[in-house]
């Protein structure tokens, strides 16, 4: 029996829950209630008229860029908490911008498989974005008042342009009057990400997202993890072939790149792949040899 995929439903519900201020899209005003003290788990611009929570990456830059704090215990605490619970399942299930990229990828056009020798080095780019644009520049590249700008939001974040910039500019004449080179630069970045998302699965998540980079550190440790039953695995390699994030499933199922989408689990003919939520590891079984053969096929 084919396994049902509830992920699109969860992604839709998460998108609606974190952007429940739908009236804001018509009035051009953003939500100002108390929920904005809290950060949402995914990349969701707080200047989106619908947003009811704060973007964790924007918040991190805001606190680090403020004069009185050299470190953001609050935002790091929230990020570590989400990371420890879910790892990059946040990307796979709760992130609106990840969901948008997936929808774009469903457009029936030829798809591009990025060669591994290009793909693997590019994956490191998101860590550079996290370190440079989100952490170091807001802390050290400050103005005369000692305040750092949110450099990632300012120059790169396509989610901010799509969710915040375009709706706010459409709804506010005063903002339209202030458009300049920076806006068009960000529109250019957005267009590039949107077009590449049609032909490449989640390119922003793979190569540029600093939030995905942060959560990736927790994929092996998080309470939610994937597991391969080595006794059940027949080494067919289907799991590796269906993985949109190009994870070597049998070698490293909890790879930093895995967004827990469950495609491998659904593709597995012997139900060897499972999801686990808990503090302890799954009991190890014999059969490592069989899995090694599968890993070779996978490659």
């Amino acid at each position: 029996m084919k396994k049902r995929n509830f992920r699109p439903l969860i992604q839709t519900l998460a998108a609606l829950a974190t952007n429940a201020n739908l009236g804001g899209f018509f009035t051009g005003k953003i939500y100002q209630g108390g929920a904005k003290y809290a950060c949402v788990p995914g990349l969701n611009c707080y200047s989106c008229p619908g947003a009811v929570g704060a973007c964790p990456i924007g918040s991190l830059q805001a606190v680090l860029g403020a004069r009185k704090h050299w470190f953001s215990f609050y935002v790091f605490g929230i990020l570590i908490f989400f990371g420890m619970l879910l790892g990059r399942a946040v990307c796979g299930f709760l992130c609106l911008f990840g969901f948008i990229q997936e929808l774009l990828y469903k457009i029936p056009l030829p798809k591009l498989k990025v060669p591994e020798k290009v793909d693997r080095p590019l994956r490191w780019l998101k860590y550079a974005v996290l370190i440079a644009l989100v952490l170091l520049l807001p802390m050290f590249a400050t103005n005369q008042f000692g305040v750092g700008a949110p450099y990632f939001c300012k120059f790169l974040c396509p989610a901010g342009t799509l969710e915040g910039g375009i709706p706010m500019v459409l709804a506010n004449g005063s903002l339209r009057a202030g458009l300049g080179a920076q806006f068009w630069w960000k529109i250019g970045v957005l267009v590039l990400v949107v077009l590449s998302s049609v032909v490449i699965y989640r390119p922003f998540c793979k190569y540029l997202c600093p939030l995905g980079a942060f959560y990736s550190f927790f994929n092996k440790l998080s309470l939610l993890r994937m597991d391969v039953d080595r006794e059940k695995c027949v080494g067919c390699g289907k799991c590796g072939r269906v993985c949109g994030m190009n994870v070597r499933v049998l070698e490293d199922i909890n790879s930093p790149e895995c967004i827990r989408c469950g495609a491998c689990r659904r593709a597995c003919p012997t139900k060897a792949i499972s999801v686990r939520f808990g503090l302890t590891e799954a009991p190890r079984r014999a059969g490592a040899k069989k899995v090694q053969q599968s890993a070779d096929i996978d490659r």
């Binding site: 606190v63 901010g160 500019v169 920076q182």
Partner: protein, 43 residues
């Protein structure tokens, strides 16, 4: 590993508590309830 996981969750909660004590949530709120011009590409 279970102990490490518990320790990390405890650390996360400790960080959140320390952040609230330092008033960081106020900075987050102030930023989030105003239109961030840099974020939308206007500022």
């Amino acid at each position: 590993m279970a102990a490490a996981r518990l320790a990390m969750i405890a650390l996360a909660l400790l960080f959140i508590g320390l952040g609230i004590r330092a008033g960081e949530q106020g900075i987050v709120f102030d930023k989030a309830v105003r239109v961030c011009l840099e974020c939308i590409g206007v500022g």
